[in-house]
């Protein structure tokens, strides 16, 4: 690197480092990703790719910043000032081509590092962290910076870079699984997809060099020192792409069925199974690390159920985001999703899973979350409601029931408002009396033994709360309300 070029690279690097655009977008990326993932337990197989993909936001900033640097003279009407200076425009372009990708990559690396640090807080990560995802995230950022400079030289108008950014992201959204992209995002709702091989990194790097050479060629130079590396990088693009698309990984990816296909069972592939304390847990392979979390949520509930009845309890099986429900699986299993809470939200995850087990143990319809489940019913005044809430309380404190309102259309097509109960038992409604008795039971010593001893009577749908109070050694402290909706069967 010549001394004038080095001096310019230093100047452009300083300018780029102070670019408010890069600062702002880096901050936005880190904050946005940290906030959006704060309550979600990370799976490195997903988060590694998503973290790399998020760096493209910084790439967009780098593209704009590099473009503005190239167009600096034109914007300030300074060509007359700078053209007759010893350092030629080609050298200035080269300085931008060196400085902005370097700075943008540094920003992207810092942003990715901060995101990963954020993901590690109070977390039990699962999945496989592939170190290749880091350069896979950083290289496209460099490419975007170089692209911004090239666009500035070939189409010297301010609108060109924003249009280029829109096209870039449009392509990313339209062809998210194409390995022709410099950055391959994580396929939405997919589980453990096959990722591009290392050749893809070479492809992205060679593409960056080729675009950079194209920017320099705009100055009309046909110097062998420029043309030969340019031709070499173009050839490297072709070779790396061919190797990528013909790699064993590509063949494996082609064989992998996309889980977005609606014909596939939601639990297909959840074949990493472990049986712990009579309960069988099945997870997708990369999520196997969460089985202890599920066990911690469900185990206390199962332990509270009399031993003789435990064999009737369902297992826990992980489900994908989309697909069909296989009755043979869903009837025998509680389905848990691809997410698990952290930083306070883990209590909701634990309560939801414990509640499903409690509902299954007491014969209530199972709802995966508050307000969800088979059509709502009212369980006020029933003994098993108190038992179910007490079972939930073995893991997390049960919460009052509320309701959700949703707009539905009647058979005649008229919109009407539907009120659905929302409780720890899904769409099962209960009142403050049931919750109060459950809390008293939780605080009472010997409650477990009494419930176990009277399990059949207490969990029978017909047993009323008044009938159960003597069995539970509870005084009548609050009158239970009469059911307001359809009584639960």
């Amino acid at each position: 690197m010549s001394r004038p070029l080095f001096a310019l690279v230093v100047a452009e690097t300083r300018i780029a480092l102070r670019s408010p655009l890069l600062w702002l977008l880096t901050l936005l990326t880190v904050t946005g990703r940290t906030v959006s993932t704060w309550h979600e337990m990370p799976n490195w197989s997903v988060e590694g790719v998503d973290t790399a993909t998020s760096a493209l936001v910084i790439g967009a900033g780098a593209m704009l910043a590099a473009n503005l640097a190239i167009l600096r003279d034109r914007r300030a009407d300074a060509l007359e000032l700078t053209d007759p200076l010893p350092v030629r425009a080609q050298t200035r372009t080269l300085a931008v081509l060196v400085a902005y990708p370097l700075v943008a990559m540094a920003y992207a690396a810092v942003a990715m590092g901060m995101q990963i640090a954020g993901l590690l807080i109070n977390s039990r990560p699962v999945g496989h962290f592939d170190v290749r995802e880091l350069p896979a995230g950083v290289l496209p950022v460099a490419l975007m910076a170089v692209l911004g400079a090239a666009v500035g030289r070939w189409i010297p108008h301010l609108f060109a870079a924003p249009v280029c950014i829109l096209l870039f992201f449009w392509t990313l959204v339209q062809f998210p699984q194409s390995w022709l992209l410099p950055m391959v995002p994580y396929p939405k709702l997919a589980i453990d997809p096959v990722r591009p091989p290392a050749w893809h990194l070479l492809y992205a790097a060679a593409l960056t060099l080729t675009v950079g050479t194209a920017a320099l060629l705009r100055h009309g130079s046909r110097h062998p020192g420029l043309v030969l590396p340019g031709a070499g990088s173009a050839a490297a693009v072709a070779v790396a792409l061919t190797l990528t698309l013909n790699s064993p990984a590509a063949a494996a990816a082609a064989r992998t069925e996309d889980l977005r296909q609606s014909t596939r069972s939601v639990t297909a592939g959840a074949d990493h199974c472990e049986t712990l304390q009579t309960t069988r847990y099945c997870a997708f392979p990369s999520y196997a690390g969460w089985i202890p979390l599920w066990r911690d949520a469900v185990g206390p509930v199962v332990a509270a159920v009399p031993t003789a009845f435990r064999h009737r309890l369902p297992g826990i099986t992980q489900r994908a985001g989309t697909g069909t429900f296989d009755p043979t699986v869903t009837s025998r299993n509680i389905l848990t999703t691809m997410s698990w809470g952290r930083n306070g939200a883990e209590r909701d995850s634990r309560r939801a899973l414990a509640a499903q087990m409690a509902a299954a143990a007491t014969g209530f319809p199972r709802g995966t979350q508050r307000g969800a489940g088979p059509s709502g019913c009212d369980a006020r005044g029933r003994a098993r409601t108190v038992v179910a809430l007490w079972l939930i309380g073995q893991t997390e404190e049960p919460l009052p029931a509320t309701s959700t309102r949703s707009s539905v259309r009647t058979d005649s097509g008229k919109p009407t408002e539907r009120v659905v109960p929302a409780s720890d038992l899904g769409a099962v409604d209960y009142g403050p009396a049931e919750l109060a008795y459950a809390r008293r039971l939780l605080a009472q010593s010997g409650a477990r033994e009494r419930i176990r001893a009277n399990w059949t009577a207490l969990t029978a749908p017909a047993t009323t709360l008044d009938e159960a109070l003597p069995l539970l050694n509870l005084n009548r402290s609050a009158a239970s309300e009469t059911p307001k909706g359809t009584p639960c069967e």
Binding site: R3, P4, A78, E80
Partner: protein, 285 residues
């Protein structure tokens, strides 16, 4: 004359419009003023000399180097300081950063030397205190001085200033004259201006340029003398064919043929300049 710049048969046209044709010029050390009406080709000549524009014909030798040759052009550019008519300065740069950036483009690569140079040229134009002010916040006159400052980087042997005093207040113009006069000692300073007072005050030599050709080449007193016996004060408005203007005392100053009631007046550089431009410079009608 110790010739710094030699121009022979220089020609430049924009499309079918001939701007400079067959120009011969030799410039030595000192401050040389270039006068001429708008569109005379002054800026085109300055741009050719600054190597911002390639002439269509003729040859130039500047400081012993041929700007037509690429290898010599780069070397020459290090020796030239150029203030364009509209020096586009990056609005979001500070004054110091702007000059520093231009210094890098002038291949002042040593960090310490560059830093000293930036401080020096800013001090030359009295902008030291505004070094950290962004260009967009500078007044028009300060920007003009910043433009002059960047031209001074590297202590150029040939300084080309296109209308350097535009936007400067009287005090700054005085400062500029002092600076230009000092710079003219030991180097060539070519400045284009419409301010004949500046020419009279600081130029060792004046070139009047019209329609792409040199119509006068001499000293300021010689330019004034060229109008000797052709400058009059008159109480009546002269014929439209005359060059004249109304003065503050209500009389008319006429350059050219004696009006019927005309009384002779001592000529100035401006009179000489108008004398050469003839009725094309008529301003009083």
């Amino acid at each position: 004359m110790n010739t710094s710049v030699e121009v022979r048969e220089l020609g430049k046209r924009y499309g079918s419009k001939v701007v400079i044709e067959g120009l011969d010029l030799e410039l030595g050390k000192g401050v040389i003023g270039l006068l001429g009406p708008n569109g005379a080709g002054k800026t085109t000549l300055l741009r050719c000399l600054a190597t911002a524009l390639t002439p269509d014909s003729g040859r130039m030798e500047i400081l012993g180097l041929d700007p037509m040759r690429r290898s010599q052009r780069t070397e020459l550019r290090k020796l030239i300081g150029y203030l364009p008519q509209n020096p586009g300065l990056y609005p979001h740069f500070t004054a110091a950063a702007m000059v520093d950036y231009i210094a890098r483009l002038k291949e002042v690569t040593d960090r310490r030397i560059r830093k000293d140079e930036v401080q020096r040229v800013l001090a030359e134009v009295d902008l030291t205190e505004a070094a950290d002010t962004r260009v967009r916040k500078l007044s028009g006159g300060m920007r003009q001085r910043l433009g002059i400052a960047q031209a001074l980087i590297g202590d150029p042997k040939f300084l080309i200033l296109d209308e350097p005093t535009v936007g400067l207040d009287p005090e700054q113009r005085m400062r500029f004259r002092t600076l230009a006069s000092r710079l003219g000692q030991g180097r060539t300073v070519l400045l284009s201006t419409h301010q004949t007072e500046d020419i009279a005050a600081l130029c060792d030599r004046v070139i009047v340029f019209s329609k792409g050709k040199v119509v006068f080449d001499g000293t300021a007193p010689e330019l004034a003398d060229a109008a000797s016996g052709r400058v009059w004060a008159s109480g009546r408005q002269p014929a439209a064919a005359q060059v004249f203007w109304r003065t503050a005392d209500g009389r008319y100053r006429v350059v050219g043929e004696r009006p019927p009631d005309g009384t002779p007046v001592a000529p100035t550089v401006e009179d000489g300049y108008l004398q050469f431009l003839g009725t094309g410079a008529r301003a009083g009608a």
